[in-house]
């Protein structure tokens, strides 16, 4: 296996809460993997630690063999790591196209690799246009985030993250509020990106979708990594059933 992301012993404590507890795992290059866990399991905190939105107490993170856990967050982004947020964080007074273009200023890590997902090639205008077309946002190019439907807004976020030309994209609950059809529509788009060589780490509560889509899953519970495996393996894991799947149904 050729891991693009190597997490070792990552921990973060907020006062009395151990939000992330000695988490270690690898994400294979070009894969679409999932991170699941009940509410408060520490998933978002984990993403924050990797993107350096927050600083880990201990542990290391290698992106493409390069340690990024000591870099400031802007350098992590420049190194090729993009993410989306659980809550919408588009620049609220910028149009869709401006939002997308802003990410291109410092992005571009993936260009030096042999990747080919949408929005990677050409001049900035072309890349922006391609991304909007890919996500069927062309009609919304001048709209502000507040004027977008939930679906369009989520697509714009992903488009913005892709505009950074990342090697790895982490999506924090991208399907929240989506119907099954809408979720699969987005997944189809993500699959296209995956074909273009993009690695993705997906976080979501929608188990049905996650188990169906992700090639490999990591399960977090109380900040620690509880289990990992293919969806069949995870589905069959008694611990997972106990703390999560069981409770869910």
């Amino acid at each position: 296996m050729d891991p693009i992301l190597e997490i070792r012993d990552l921990s973060k404590r907020f006062g009395g809460v151990e939000a992330v507890k000695a988490v270690s795992f690898d994400v294979p290059r070009g894969s679409l993997v999932g991170l699941i866990g009940p509410n408060g399991a520490g998933k978002t905190t984990f993403v924050n630690l990797v993107s350096k939105h927050e600083s880990p107490d201990t542990g290391s993170v290698l992106l493409d063999k390069r340690p990024i856990h000591r870099l400031p967050s802007f350098k992590v982004a420049r190194a090729g790591l993009a993410r989306t947020y659980q809550k919408n964080r588009l620049f609220f007074e910028e149009s869709v196209s401006e939002n997308i273009r802003t990410a291109m200023i410092w992005g571009g890590a993936a260009k030096h690799q042999d990747l080919s997902y949408p929005g990677l090639k050409g001049k900035e205008e072309e890349r922006t246009a391609e991304l909007m077309e890919f996500f069927a946002l062309t009609a919304q190019r001048d709209a502000l985030p507040s004027g977008l439907s939930h679906l369009h807004r989520r697509r714009a976020e992903v488009a913005q993250a892709l505009a950074l030309a990342p090697k790895l994209l982490m999506l924090d609950e991208p399907f929240a509020g989506f119907s099954r059809e809408e979720a699969f529509d987005l997944i189809d788009h993500l699959k296209v990106c995956q074909k273009g060589g993009l690695t993705m780490l997906l976080i979501d509560h929608n188990m049905e979708v996650m188990l169906e889509v992700c090639e490999y899953l990591f399960v977090m519970h109380h900040g620690a990594l509880l289990a990992s495996g293919t969806s069949a393996e995870v589905r069959a894991n008694p611990e997972v059933i106990n703390v999560y799947l069981g409770a869910e149904t």
Partner: protein, 292 residues
């Protein structure tokens, strides 16, 4: 009628200067969330720089104007590094007080260098000349120069903020500092950039304000006060808002001085503030807007 038109002309040139002064403050507030009271003294000091270059060294006004902008831009960056960066995580009141302290220090510095007893005129083009409309409406060339410069400054500023990557990074930082860093934007560089532009705008305002007659150590106070009102009036961080509010305030000031009472001009900013707070607390232009 002609007296009225005359006051409109004076008010327009004054209002334009105020808009430039306010644009700097607005930008700082919009992007960096700080109210820099020392801005008033950058205006004043900019005036002195223009004086030194034009009257002292005998160079053209535009050289002095550019020098004032660059020097005050650099001063802004120094201020960012030495004061605001250190106080970044402190409450807004600390930053406000610190900027007030800087205000006083710069005031004392200027006084030490130039004193306040002698007049320090800036040689502005068209100082003496004027266009006469009919019998008694006079448009000084200097005022035309001022207005033209202001329009040019705003055009450049608009272009930079809304059409360039520099502007994009500034706007992104303003609207979501954390998201911006995850787009690879370095907050420190943006801060330095914004402080540079804001300082430069202060310097530009000072060179123009001082260009009409002369510069003096206490000339930064009224523009600072007006600029504060303008950014509240125009909507924090809005450029178009700054121009419109600047014009309104400049013209109102002149009309009040002329028609109501010379002493009452000072009350204009406060009256305007009171009205805004009652009628439209979010300012003229939308939300705490940062969009033109």
């Amino acid at each position: 009628m002609s007296a009225f038109a005359q006051q409109l002309i004076y008010g327009t040139s004054y209002g334009m200067n105020l808009a430039v002064a306010a644009a700097g403050l607005a930008l700082l507030f919009g992007v960096y969330r700080v109210i820099n009271l020392a801005h008033g003294q950058l205006i004043m000091f900019g005036g002195y720089i223009a004086y030194v270059v034009t009257t002292g060294l005998g160079l053209h006004f535009f050289v002095g104007f550019a020098a004032a902008m660059v020097a005050m831009g650099v001063a802004g960056v120094i201020l960012e590094i030495s004061v605001f960066r250190i106080l970044q995580r402190r409450p807004a009141t600390d930053q406000l007080l610190a900027s007030l302290g800087v205000y006083m220090m710069i005031g004392i510095l200027a006084l030490r260098i130039w004193g306040d007893f002698e007049a320090r005129p800036i040689n502005m083009p068209g100082e003496e000349g004027a266009i006469l409309l009919g019998e008694d409406i006079r448009i000084d060339f200097a005022r035309i120069v001022t207005i033209a410069i202001t329009i040019a400054v705003f055009a450049v500023l608009y272009f930079v903020v809304y059409r360039t990557h520099l502007g994009r990074t500034m706007r992104a930082t303003a609207q979501g500092p954390e998201t911006a860093t995850l787009m690879g934007i370095r907050k420190r560089e943006v801060a330095a950039l914004v402080f540079f532009i804001a300082g430069a705008l202060g310097g530009a305002a000072g060179a123009m304000l001082g260009g009409l007659f002369n510069v003096r150590p206490d000339m930064g106070f009224q523009p600072l006060l007006m600029a504060l009102i303008i950014i509240i009036f125009g909507g924090m961080g809005s450029l178009i808002g700054a121009i419109i509010a600047g014009l309104v305030l400049g013209i109102l000031y002149n009309l009040t001085v002329f028609y109501v009472g010379s002493k009452l001009g000072d009350l204009v900013p406060f009256a305007v503030l009171l009205i805004i707070l009652m009628v439209r607390p979010q300012g003229l232009f939308g939300l705490p807007g940062r969009r033109a």
